[in-house]
């Protein structure tokens, strides 16, 4: 299996994602780690809540990995996404890519996170001291 797709209810482990893609034949591993920021447009965020339509999210993440493996000359890709309540600084998503050549790994990793944010049915709600908002739901 050249891809690993997982949804987690517990904290993500970057070492796990990295080790899943590492291979003695590959010189380069690129990781993207998306963390919860403490503010959005200058307003303090207390925490985030992620929910997902899980079976479809897994399928869409798998599509991204398969498409990445086809389009770029990469070796393996892992996509791990966290769900539930996340505190500031916790990791929401980790994408790990190994490739014989690092340029392909960088391109594939950027493509995967860009596409994930467009297509994967996961939603996050930002919780402020005075309310909450579903991110990017309205114009």
């Amino acid at each position: 299996m050249r891809h690993n797709i997982q949804l987690f209810d517990q904290p993500l482990d970057p070492a796990l994602a990295r080790q899943q893609v590492e291979d003695p034949s590959c010189g380069g591993v690129v990781l993207f780690v998306g963390n919860v920021r403490n503010a959005t447009q200058g307003k303090e965020v207390l925490r985030l809540e992620f929910e997902s339509y899980r079976p479809m999210a897994l399928r869409e993440m798998e599509k991204i990995a398969i498409e990445s493996l086809e389009r770029f000359r990469i070796h393996k890709m892992s996509i791990h996404h966290r769900l539930g309540t996340l505190q500031i600084g916790e990791s929401a998503v980790i994408i790990a890519v190994s490739a014989p050549h690092r340029k392909a790994a960088f391109k594939a990793c950027a493509y995967a996170i860009d596409t994930l944010k467009e297509t994967v049915p996961i939603w996050k709600k930002e919780i402020f001291s005075d309310g909450e908002v579903w991110v990017a739901a309205t114009p």
Binding site: V93, A136, A137
Partner: protein, 80 residues
């Protein structure tokens, strides 16, 4: 036809429920469901866009529903 529709995120908030049954004419399409939603719940018009998944795949407006379809309203996603 009876259509069981699931909703997540802001769509669930607008519907007021994670799952709602709709009674639509036979051979209704995804586009018909969207029209119905916008009429019954005008707040949907305020979203950046609105998608519908049928059996875990994004479905075009022309797709015709079958009785056992798993239908889910997909408001704008915000993972990552």
């Amino acid at each position: 036809m009876k259509l069981k529709v699931m909703a997540f995120g802001i769509a669930r908030d607008i519907l007021g429920s994670a799952e709602v049954d709709f009674d639509l004419p036979e051979n209704s399409k995804v586009g018909d469901l969207k029209e119905h939603l916008l009429k019954q719940f005008p707040a949907f018009a305020g979203l950046r866009h609105l998608a519908v998944a049928v059996n875990c795949e994004y479905a075009e407006d022309e797709v015709i529903f079958n009785a056992m379809d798993e239908v889910v309203i997909i408001p704008p996603v915000s993972g990552g």
